[in-house]
């Protein structure tokens, strides 16, 4: 059995790319909201990290949907997913979440960048100012719903896989939580990387704030990973076979131990702790940590996608 081609494989790497992009978008938006409300307040629009988070969130959710549509066997019929709904289908729920998430994402971005938008629109498009004023009035509601939908989107990618009864590795309740946690950390990492690239201060309040949340998040991820695999082993039968097949010897075992646990989780955790201990943060250090986190999440999505389909019950 080769690592990328086997009989029971149905979903290939484009799905992993989509899972990654959707998770990163949800995470970036979640951290943008946190940054604005607990760290930057009214001056949020000036921060490179908020700008980066908004750009990343908007582009990656669209790119993810693009990958998904191209992966359909009938890409031109994609609109049928938007017209027909099946209340028992996790994918249908996901489509609704994705649509509402984007609505509130754009609304929140408009409210956050109200000042520059108004400045531009006063000259060119006065009617847009009325819209931003209206949105600003409902800022609390928009923010609350955006947080709910971004968390829903992060967990949804896990539910999408766990709704399949005969893949024992996917058919567990821990998977959505694991995907949510890793999605949030990828969003944080992407925002940090984008922020420092957009000339954000690598030693700024934003970085300190995100790093403080990232440490418990990574610890939580490791705990969820542990729970996930131990749960499979204790379930016995094919679940146990699936668990040992995934994290045992072989290509995917190497990806898991070296790539995900080593480079993706332990290294960023150590670097975050070190950065908290030392007072000065440098560009290369912040960017390097973020890149490792992102690499870890991409590997995790592929790892779960492929190894999950290897063992059936």
């Amino acid at each position: 059995m080769s690592a990328f081609h086997f009989d029971t494989l149905v979903w290939h790497w484009p799905i992993a790319v989509y899972l990654f992009l959707a998770g990163a978008s949800a995470g970036a938006m979640f951290f943008a909201v946190l940054l604005k409300h607990f760290c930057l307040k009214e001056k949020a629009y000036q921060s490179g990290f908020i700008i980066a988070a908004c750009i990343i969130a908007a582009i990656s959710v669209l790119a993810g949907l693009g990958v998904l549509v191209l992966d359909l066997t009938k890409p031109w019929d994609f609109w049928k997913i938007l017209v027909f709904y099946n209340p028992t289908s996790v994918m249908s729920m996901g489509v609704i979440i994705l649509m509402l998430y984007q609505v509130f994402m754009y609304a929140w971005i408009a409210v956050t960048f109200r000042q520059p938008i108004d400045k531009f629109c006063e000259k060119h498009l006065p009617i847009a100012c009325t819209l931003t004023r209206l949105l600003a009035r409902y800022e609390a509601g928009i923010t609350g719903l955006l947080v709910i939908f971004s968390v829903s989107l992060g967990a949804y990618t896990g539910f999408l896989l766990s709704a399949q009864p005969h893949f024992p590795m996917w058919n567990t309740g821990v998977l959505p939580l694991l995907f949510l946690a890793s999605g949030l950390s990828s969003g944080a990492a992407a925002s940090l990387l984008g922020g420092v690239l957009l000339k954000g201060n690598p030693n700024g309040a934003e970085v300190r704030f995100i790093h403080k949340i990232e440490i418990p998040l990574i610890l939580g991820e490791i705990l969820l990973m542990f729970t996930f695999f131990l749960g499979l082993v204790f379930s016995g039968g094919q679940s146990k076979v699936a668990a040992f097949n995934a994290i045992g010897v072989g290509f995917w075992g190497f990806v898991f131990w070296f790539g995900i646990m080593g480079l993706g989780l332990s290294a960023p955790l150590a670097m975050n702790l070190f950065m908290t201990a030392t007072s000065k943060r440098k560009f290369s250090y912040v960017a390097g940590t973020a890149c490792l986190s992102l690499l870890g999440v991409i590997l995790l999505r592929n790892f779960i996608l492929y190894t999950g389909q290897m063992v059936v019950s």
Binding site: V10, K74, F84, V90, I148, P165, S313
Partner: protein
């Protein structure tokens, strides 16, 4: 302000949680007590002791349902040989849609293209509604769904719902079987040959522990080998 926001968040969370769990509970209740409109619930019995692996059923299905080359709605899985020469034998087992009562393909389909026909209990696909997301192919525990290269939609056995059954005939595979290893009939009809055979023989269904309640029953052939 702070209080009202918290209140708003709390109630929205409760609403979202409630809405997302509701359809699953409702569906489950329906599946248990779904009334059969015409009092028909089709099922198939595969007597594996009679199957000789001639593949006539596979070819008949292809012809009647216009299944393109390269894919198939039905295949016969061969295992063996078992035993010592000259007493060697093979096992043949039908591999096709199991027409689950609680079908994972139907519950995951985002557009409702995969559906259970209420009048007959047949699991079928509406090719026009299907967008080809392949969620049903991944979700099917029996791995019997495929993408039809002509229509680009998900496809599988539908007991010849669109072809032979419409003309009042038996499914193509049942009609052609030279050893009468396949018996098709209505589970709700106590007089039918199917129900009589099911009552007289010990039968087995695949992967019952997944709760899909498949409607292909099998009379198992004699033990090939013992594996622990």
């Amino acid at each position: 302000m702070e209080n009202s926001r918290r209140h708003f968040l709390k109630s929205t969370c409760a609403l979202v949680a409630g809405v997302s769990v509701y359809p699953f509970s409702g569906n489950h209740a329906n599946a248990e007590m779904e009334p059969a409109i015409n009092n028909i619930k089709y099922a198939l019995l595969n007597d594996e002791t009679k199957c000789i692996g001639c593949n006539a059923c596979v070819e008949a299905c292809r012809e009647v349902n216009h299944v393109p080359e390269g894919v198939t709605r039905l295949s016969i899985e061969r295992t063996g040989p078992f035993g010592e020469y000259p007493n060697q034998f093979y096992h043949f087992s039908r591999h096709s849609c199991e027409h689950c009562e609680n079908a994972p393909c139907v519950s995951v389909c985002p557009t409702g293209a995969a559906f259970i026909n209420k009048e007959t209990g047949i699991v079928a696909v509406n090719a026009d509604k299907c967008v080809g997301c392949q969620y049903c192919i991944a979700a099917c525990p029996y791995e019997v769904r495929f993408i039809n290269p002509v229509t680009k939609a998900a496809d599988k056995c539908d007991f010849c719902r669109e072809t032979n059954l419409k003309q009042g005939k038996q499914p193509a595979c049942v009609e052609i079987c030279p050893t009468k290893a396949l018996v098709f009939g209505n589970l709700k009809d106590p007089e039918s040959e199917l129900v009589a055979l099911l009552k007289a023989n010990p039968t087995e269904r695949f992967k019952q522990d997944l709760g899909t309640r498949p409607k292909i029953f099998r009379i198992k052939a004699k033990q090939g080998e013992i594996i622990l």
